[in-house]
Amino acid sequence: MAASLELRQVRKSFGKTAIINGVDLAIERGERHAVIGPNGAGKSTLFNLISGRFPLSTGNILLNGQDITGLAPQEINRRGLSRSFQITNIFPKLSVFENLRCAVLWSQGYRYSFWHRVGGLKDVRARADELVERIGLKRRRDTLAGVLSYAEQRALEIGVTIAGGAEVILLDEPTAGMSNTETEDAVALIRAVSEGKTLVMVEHDMSVVFGLADRISVLVYGQVIATGTPAEIRGNKAVQEAYLGVEADTAEGAH
């Protein structure tokens, strides 16, 4: 069976600077996969390539065996890949509920309809309310997203990402800037919402990475230098030298 998400010799250059330098990666269905690496390794760029935000220079990306290279972000999303953003990217002047409803609409098949009354769409409302509860923002259901606390906005960011029911979920630093308790809550949420799905996440917090991930890829200077289970990655010499060994002390606080 085809991998859930597969990258084949993916390269990306901005001008003469190569940011992603031939990445090969295959992520199995149902796997929780973490991408780690020092600052500037190209982790966020990799997410932007997979999700269609930037075009690739060369290479191919396959989703469930189908080539999605060069598709627009919305087309990739409709095929079942959804992503979150490192810097919170929600609809600030809409309420929490409306944010989630917007994220649900396409998956329920309403497209650009101007002949349905959105308040009367029971399936949409039920799904959006279920999401409100799931991300723990029931008390904030009708609050404008722009005035939520940082941790609440991060939870909403995840809610908007999973709302469409995508099979492959990309989370870009979901716990960045959170306190310890907030991080614990976020990890529990991520664990719950990625149940039965394929999860790829960029994360700097090593306790989160080693606690959640089935497999880890280490990205250094735009290349994957190692992929393996947490135990394998811990024991990998090259990783220790390139990343953990040198930066193990600072990795926790790195952003």
Binding site: Q74, F91, R101, Y112, T143, G164
Partner: protein
């Protein structure tokens, strides 16, 4: 008004959990509002029954449709267009030619449904121009919309057979026999036709905000980038909204043809596009009803002020300036601002401070009007009618020092009074803010 206390209140209201009104109750309330709107539309020409008043009411109805259609772009989708009059104007020209064809007997179509011709033209050009303009957003969109407006205005001079050159296209709305005693000869019959179309368009445009497309338009306004990652194409949403806005603008244009029996190319130019922007903006683009207020107010000012003074454009400009400086959210935002005062039952505390500010404002305004009118008289009329002019029922010599000193004194005193009046207003708002916070603590 940009007072920190006021902002704190506004923030507190935004943060407060919504009352969560029951859907059934909300529908009932909404139905009541629409019934009230219908009642106002029906009663208006009975109350204001002079010829010019009915004509003004007709213009207001047209302006309401036009301004609401503009706000589908600006307020709902975040598209600043400088060329919305293009769709109004083209809809009007097609409607004018259709009306002439009806008059000539070559087209069989009821005059009451002429707005459908305007709608079709507005929609068609919305689809064509929208396809080009909505590929971009933000400033590029604004610039391209301006370019399209200039282009269409230039075309209007190049095709005199269609646009009628400087004189425009004139027409006659009274064609054929009376249908149930109605031939749209009298102004009041035209008013009721416009009112009916206005009512239908208002409901349709409001209904649109409650659809998936309308909601996603709000999302595009807030964050077009994110929209792509929930499966939607923001370009497509902008395109559909512009096409539909063009359609409603075309309806307004066709009604304009019926109302004036004349359409000139200046109605599709950039000045007309600017006026509709002002209507939406002054009324308040953040609320559905905002542009309705703006359309009514500006239509009134345009016809009423221009009767009284030649300097009306200057007052109009000053009014716009004051609104942008002190109430950038428009009149609708001022209404929203006072919700906490109503909820805490402290609106009465504002009455006296506001009355004080009104007096101060009146003094300032009197000084301003005096200075402007005397200057206008001195510059433009002195040589024909002499230096003495009458204002507020008084005679003033515009070449004497006294009246000028008086105008300056009014301005200064008004300004100082307004400063003083701000303090009790601030105190009242502090009290309201405290009450709101106490209410939230419970």
């Amino acid at each position: 008004m940009a007072d920190p206390v006021v902002e704190a209140v506004a923030r507190a209201v935004r943060n407060a959990p919504a009352s969560g009104a029951e859907p059934g109750l909300m529908h009932w309330r909404r139905a009541m509002v629409w019934a009230a709107v219908a009642a106002v539309l029906i009663a208006a020409p009975q109350v204001f029954n002079q010829g010019f008043a009915v004509s003004m009411l007709s213009q207001m109805g047209i302006a309401i449709i036009f301004a609401l259609s503009y706000n589908m772009l600006l307020g709902q989708t975040g598209m600043l267009s400088f060329g919305h009059a293009v769709y109004f104007g083209l809809g009007a020209f097609f409607a004018a030619h259709a009306l002439n064809a009806i008059g000539a007997g070559s087209l069989h179509w009821p005059v009451s449904l002429l707005p459908l011709v305007g709608a079709a033209a507005g929609l068609a050009f919305g689809l064509v121009f929208g396809y080009v303009t909505t590929k971009h957003s933000g400033t590029p969109f604004a610039m391209i919309s301006l370019g399209i407006a200039e282009m269409v205005a230039a075309c209007s001079l190049m095709f005199p057979s269609f646009f009628g050159g400087e004189g425009g296209i004139s027409t006659d709305r009274v064609v054929g026999d009376k249908v149930m005693g109605v031939d749209f000869g009298p102004g009041v019959q035209v008013y009721y036709l416009i009112a009916a179309w206005c009512f239908v368009c208002m409901i349709l445009m409001f209904a649109l905000t409650q659809t998936p497309l309308g909601r996603m338009a709000n999302a595009v306004r807030d964050n077009p980038e994110r929209v792509k990652f929930v499966g939607y194409n923001p370009t497509r949403i902008r395109f559909l909204m512009l096409a539909l806005a063009g359609m409603f603008a075309g309806i307004a244009g066709a009604l304009e043809v019926i109302n004036f029996e004349l359409i000139t190319a200046e109605r599709l130019g950039t000045a007309a596009s600017g006026t509709v922007l002002l209507m939406a903006f002054i009324g308040g683009v953040g609320h559905f009803y905002g542009p309705i207020i703006g359309a009514i107010l500006i239509t009134f000012l345009q016809s009423a002020l221009s009767n009284y003074t030649q300097a009306w454009l200057l007052y109009f400009g000053l009014f716009f300036l004051v609104m942008i400086l002190f109430a950038p959210g428009g009149i609708a935002s001022l209404v929203t601002l006072h919700k906490p005062a109503v909820q805490t039952r402290l609106l009465g505390r504002l009455a006296l401070p506001y009355a004080g500010a009104a007096v101060a404002g009146a003094v300032l305004l009197a000084g301003l009007i005096m200075a402007v009118e005397m200057f206008y008289h001195y510059e433009t009329k002195r040589e024909q009618v002499g230096a003495v002019m009458s204002l507020f029922g008084q005679q003033f010599d515009t070449t004497a020092t006294g009246p000028w000193l008086m105008a300056v004194a009014l301005l200064v005193v008004g300004g100082v009074l307004l400063r003083l009046a701000a303090r009790p207003i601030g105190a009242a708002w502090t009290e309201i803010a405290a009450a709101v916070n106490r209410g939230q603590g419970n």
